[in-house]
């Protein structure tokens, strides 16, 4: 392969110190690489450490063992090449939609007069051109996600990290957002690491679907290539025969982990 590797996790282990000197290992021996221009989705049961893995790639968390390489360079501190789309609301509530998008440029020293028109252009391309003056609380959940997407993309990051970004949205809005994401991604094909608990969403969006086992000490237990043709339409692709075959195949593996994860979380609740 000649395409460079955007993100490479090698043997990454993430552990957290619990209050009483016990150590909780969230993820163990994680091997994962995302090539430039590749869209990889990570799917796993709740509490399996998918988001943890993403935070490691972002540099927000340091792995206890193993290495993280970004474009073949070991990562120290925050990942400057990555744009991060959070699950929770991460917009600055005291800035208007326009200012929220423009800030990404202003931080880099772009003059405000130049940043604002570019921010306006990005707002338009996520379909919110008319909402520039609104504050986040005046926007719906889906609209806030669009602003957040524009905020991240205006910086033109080489890698896009997404932590269940559409999780809080309703089913229809999710599909619309998925299509929007694919459209924007198609324009310049960044490397994407997309965490979700929704297998259908993962298959519909990604080039590769990676499955994680139930936590604690969860591992990557499966890696499937999705060969559905692009450009895709999320509404249509779900009717595809290949989509169904792949879904059935991955689900047969994922199902056991989901049950295990569920059993563990209920046991943990009983133990407390």
């Amino acid at each position: 392969m000649t395409t460079p590797t955007a993100v490479a996790l090698e043997d990454a282990k993430v552990a957290f110190r619990l209050g009483d000197d016990r150590v909780y290992t969230a993820v163990e021996k994680a091997h994962l690489s995302v090539a430039q221009g590749e869209f990889v989705a990570i799917v796993g049961p709740t509490g399996c450490g998918k988001s943890t893995l993403l935070n490691v790639a972002a540099g927000l968390l340091k792995p206890a063992a193993g290495s993280v390489k970004i474009f073949d360079q070991p990562l120290a501190g925050l990942n400057p090449d990555a744009g991060y789309l959070f699950q929770a609301d991460a917009l600055f509530p005291w800035k208007t939609a326009l200012d929220n998008v423009a800030i990404g440029l202003e931080i880099k020293g772009t003059p405000r007069a130049e940043a604002l028109p570019r921010a306006q252009k990005w707002l338009t391309s996520v379909g919110l051109g008319a909402f520039a003056g609104r504050y986040p609380h005046m926007l719906s959940g889906g609209q806030r996600k669009r602003v957040a997407l524009a905020q991240v993309l205006i910086r033109d990051p080489k890698i896009l990290l997404m932590d269940e970004p559409f999780g809080p949205l309703d089913a229809q809005t999710r599909q619309v957002m998925g299509n929007l994401l694919l459209d924007l991604w198609n324009a310049d094909r960044k490397a994407v690491l997309f965490v979700t608990h929704d297998l259908e969403e993962a298959i519909a969006l990604a080039d590769r679907v990676v499955i994680m086992s139930a936590g604690p000490s969860s591992r990557i237990i499966g890696d499937w290539r999705v060969t559905l043709p692009r450009p895709r339409d999320i509404f249509e692709v779900r009717l595809d025969k290949e989509f169904h075959a792949l879904h059935r195949e991955i689900w047969s593996v994922l199902k056991d982990e989901v049950m295990k994860g569920y059993a563990q979380s209920t046991q943990a609740a009983e133990a407390v």
Partner: protein, 262 residues
């Protein structure tokens, strides 16, 4: 209920109270005046006193002094509260070391400091300003401290991932968050600035609303005391209205300006 009805009812409450007051202060019931004028005065006399103050123009000087003291106390107290609040929130060690002392000083009823300030700073406006500052400072301090501490983790991470330096985080994340907490306590801190000024004047001064009330009390002029109280509350309501206007402009981004935190 329509606005007009509501306003009418509100006015009605005032009218009933004033009429009852006037009635019991001037008409004997069962051969006895229930509110002896010496102790309770009556609305007509109080009103006459207020009119006299305003028509002779005496009151402006006193209002001016009290307003100056309140504004100075508010500005100095807020500036100190913001600075120290920020510093403590960013330096947990400093906060931990000073914590018991902050609690101790805050637990102290500030009125007992008035004689000390009068000794140190004389009977002019500065002893009153100092008293107001000790009141305002802690409100602003605690709010700013809280505001910096409770910045949403996600918003902070987002700022970092967008490439903000520590200084930019300060300016775009910590500062607005702290300010929003400070503004949500604006009514309280402005109110306390006035309390500090008036109490200081009451305990020893040569001018101001507190001085007016204290003077009237000294010669058993109950009408003067009540008149001073009415002017004072009207003064505070006006200031509060101003604060509401400022707040509405500055906190447009907040879901509802009224869901007060702190």
């Amino acid at each position: 209920m329509s606005r007009v009805t509501l306003l009418a009812l509100q006015v009605l409450v005032a009218v009933v109270c004033l009429v009852l007051w006037q009635f019991f202060a001037s008409v004997p019931v069962f051969g006895k005046i229930l509110l002896p004028p010496f102790f309770f005065s009556n609305p007509v006399d109080v009103f006459a006193q207020i009119v006299k103050w305003f028509s002779s123009g005496v009151i402006w000087k006193h209002l001016g002094i009290t307003l100056t003291e309140s504004i100075l106390a508010f500005v100095i107290g807020s500036a100190g509260g913001v600075l120290i609040g920020f510093w403590f929130a960013r330096q947990p060690l400093v906060a931990a070391v000073f914590d018991p002392y902050v609690k101790m000083v805050n637990a102290l009823p500030r009125v007992v400091l008035a004689p000390i300030f009068a000794l140190w700073l004389g009977l002019g406006i500065w002893s009153k300003v100092a008293l107001g500052v000790t009141l305002v400072f802690f409100i602003v301090f605690f709010n700013v401290y809280q505001g910096v501490k409770e910045v949403s983790r996600t918003v902070l991470d987002n700022g970092r991932m967008l490439g903000m330096s520590e200084r930019q985080l300060m300016r775009h994340v910590y500062w607005p968050s702290a300010l929003s907490w400070m503004f949500s306590s604006l009514h309280t801190s402005v109110g306390f600035a006035v309390v500090g000024a008036v109490v200081g004047e009451y305990l020893g001064s040569a001018a101001g609303l507190g001085y007016l009330i204290q003077q009237a009390e000294g010669i058993f002029d109950v009408a003067g005391v009540f008149a001073g109280m009415f002017v004072l509350s009207a003064f505070v309501i006006l200031i509060d209205f101003g604060v509401t206007l400022v707040e509405r402009r500055l906190l447009v981004w907040r879901p509802t300006a009224s869901d007060g935190r702190g």
